[in-house]
């Protein structure tokens, strides 16, 4: 344990992190957002899921400091159309967004890495079939897959059931729609790695193909996987927001950032801009810091890349 810590302290990863201001700032903001959203039940002033505490009389209150006295110090960022505290709702919503983002990426990675490894290592027909599948998958946009699947789901199980199953459903939809990103990246690295001598040496030692694939080749393809993972988390969060904005994602009773933006959208012209703008800013900041961290990680893990 101590050794691992010391190794980490001496590592190039940490060194370059500490010498990159953008990375430090992005990481700090991301940390604050993640910690804030996952400890929402502890730190949020209100519980947006508890209908007993919501008072319709408090609806559409402006943010406290900008409201020229009409706001209430109880709701620092104002309230939405149902009288829920915006700050609390955003924290809870971001928790759902991040959860779906991470879950969807885990799903994409599991599918994509497995299929990419098989395609790259076995090659030939397996490769051709899997990669054509990936091409077909990529020719459907995430939106289209989600619309079709959610229509099927809702007609099979009913809308009520959908509200309960929305989180796992969105994870699966975004996971299925984007696995080819992983599969292609992994396949490309595997094809480069499998020609290397250590793979031949592993065969000479008598290891089975699956062992060579998982234990010897996969760890050597980790750096591109890490890099696309960051980008994919940001993409998944955005896909979720887009789906929710279109009303295909999280229901208004458990709003994610996307459904919050959507629910405020109809009030934007009546002057209640804060219901849409605040979750929007939060979403942009979240995506931006994840992408900035991804850029930094790519530069660190791929020193050959020319950075102009």
């Amino acid at each position: 344990m101590m050794r691992a810590w010391r190794k980490f302290k001496e590592s190039y990863l940490l060194y370059s992190f500490l010498h990159d201001k953008v990375a430090i700032v992005s990481f700090t903001i991301l940390l604050v957002l993640v910690v804030g959203s996952f400890s929402a039940p502890l730190i949020a002033p209100h519980d947006p899921y508890d209908t007993a505490t919501i008072d319709i009389m408090n609806s559409e209150l402006p943010p406290f400091l900008l409201g020229n006295g009409s706001g209430s110090s109880e709701f620092p960022l104002g309230t939405d159309s149902q009288g829920r505290d915006m700050l609390s709702t955003m924290l809870y919503g971001m928790r759902i967004s991040i959860l779906i983002g991470l879950g969807a990426v885990a799903m994409q990675a599991a599918l994509g890495i497995m299929l990419g490894l098989l395609a790259g290592y076995i090659g030939k027909k397996v490769d051709a079939v899997l990669m054509r599948l990936a091409d077909i998958q990529l020719s459907f946009s995430t939106m289209m897959v989600a619309i079709v699947l959610s229509a099927v789901f809702q007609s099979m199980f009913g809308v009520g059931r959908y509200e309960e199953m929305a989180v796992p459903f969105l994870i699966i939809v975004i996971g299925i729609a984007e696995w080819p990103q992983y599969a292609r990246t992994v396949r490309a690295s595997v094809m480069a790695e499998r020609k290397k001598e250590y793979v031949e040496a592993a065969r000479v030692i008598g290891f089975s193909s699956s062992r060579i694939m998982w234990r010897h080749i996969l760890p050597n393809t980790l750096s591109p996987i890490l890099v696309i993972s960051t980008v994919q988390v940001a993409n998944a969060v955005m896909s979720e927001a887009a789906l929710s904005f279109l009303g295909l994602g999280m229901p208004p009773t458990q709003p994610s950032l996307g459904s919050l933006i959507n629910s405020g959208f109809e009030y934007i012209f009546s002057g209640s801009w804060w219901i849409t703008i605040f979750p929007g800013i939060l979403l942009v900041v979240l995506i931006l810091v994840i992408n900035l961290l991804g850029d930094w990680l790519r530069d660190v893990l791929n020193p050959k890349l020319y950075k102009g």
Binding site: R3, Y198, A201, R203, V204, G206, F207, R211, R215, H216
Partner: protein, 325 residues
């Protein structure tokens, strides 16, 4: 006594679109337990293919067309993959040229060594670790406990090749195939590694096939030698006799091309021409276009192996036949 290894008239072909290419054209050799043999020849003569075909691991599109390999009395050239995997790395192990490339860069030395033990023996992880340590000590690696935790890039080239050797010994194989084990190392390390390999093989009576183009290395370590040219063995015999008194014109050329101290100031001899491409092997003896002694028969008929008392082996050259007549 059963032979450790017998390779009988082995033909290896590569299936290409333009037709099958013969990479090994009927090679035959055998090894007693604990015996060391050198396999020499120019690049492309088929030395490495010969090494790989012993453990039936010729990369596609290569395949064994005829002949067989008998290891410790068991024919292994037609074994199913599962059984073959038990032999690879366990009873026959292989050492490659470049230790930088043959160790996995992202796994620690310990992981890689222990994995090899665990793949072939039913032992606990702690026992595997002990075996790994023991083998690192055998190859004189200082502070072996520390090495187990290190990654290949943290070690020097010589150290890495020692680790490769330790890994190849870890399952106690009876035959080691070393494919140019010292080519990627500098000269002083080369000598160290060869001495180490020799010592370990002698101490534990392991068979060794040393594949190399360096006759100097071979004469240091092996008792027997087989010279390959264009996919055939053209001369075999006892190492010191062949090095001192080579019979085949090709072997003579190879030995004349070695730098020697008494020829100070003179140009090194070289064999004119190049080894033929496998797609265009000349009829008759494959060496005839480059041979200073080529006769008419060399251009039409392939020479068989003639027994040769001078080297204690056999030589595929009509010169030896003619002299006898």
């Amino acid at each position: 006594m059963t032979k450790l290894l017998q390779v009988n008239d082995l033909v290896v072909k590569f299936g290409l679109r333009a037709g099958d290419l013969t990479a090994l054209n009927g090679i035959t050799f055998s090894l007693d337990p604990g015996e060391r043999m050198g396999l020499v020849g120019e690049s492309g003569a088929g030395k490495s293919v010969a090494g790989f075909s012993v453990i039936n691991l010729i990369g596609k599109p290569g395949f064994i067309a005829s002949g067989n390999v008998v290891f410790e009395g068991e024919e292994i050239s037609s074994l199913p993959l599962e059984k073959m995997r038990d032999i690879r790395g366990n009873r026959i192990s292989m050492i490659f040229q470049d230790p930088m490339m043959t160790l996995n860069p992202v796994l620690t030395v310990g992981t890689q060594m222990m994995e090899t033990v665990l793949a072939h023996k039913k032992v606990s992880r702690a026992e595997a670790r002990e075996t790994a340590l023991e083998n690192l000590r055998k190859v004189y690696i200082p502070s072996p406990e520390k090495r187990l935790e290190q990654y290949p890039h943290e070690l020097s080239g010589g150290m890495r090749q020692r680790i490769v050797i330790a890994t190849s010994l870890i399952t106690n194989p009876s035959l080691i195939i070393a494919d140019e084990p010292t080519t990627a190392l500098d000269v002083t390390i080369q000598a160290e590694i060869m001495d180490l390999l020799l010592e370990l093989c002698e101490k534990e009576r392991k068979g060794l096939i040393l594949i190399t183009h360096d006759l100097g290395v071979v004469s240091q370590v092996t008792r027997k030698i087989a010279v390959m040219y264009a996919g055939r063995i053209i001369e075999k015999g006892e190492t010191d006799k062949i090095v001192r008194n080579p019979q085949h014109p090709y072997t003579r050329g190879l030995i004349a091309a070695l730098p020697q101290t008494e020829q100070r100031g003179k140009r090194l001899a070289q064999i004119p021409g190049m080894m033929p491409n496998l797609t265009s092997i000349p009829p008759g003896c494959a060496f005839n276009p480059r041979c200073p002694h080529a006769m008419d028969i060399c251009r039409t008929r392939e020479p068989e192996m003639f027994p040769c008392p001078e080297t204690g082996g056999e030589t595929a050259c009509f010169l030896l036949d003619q002299e006898r007549k």
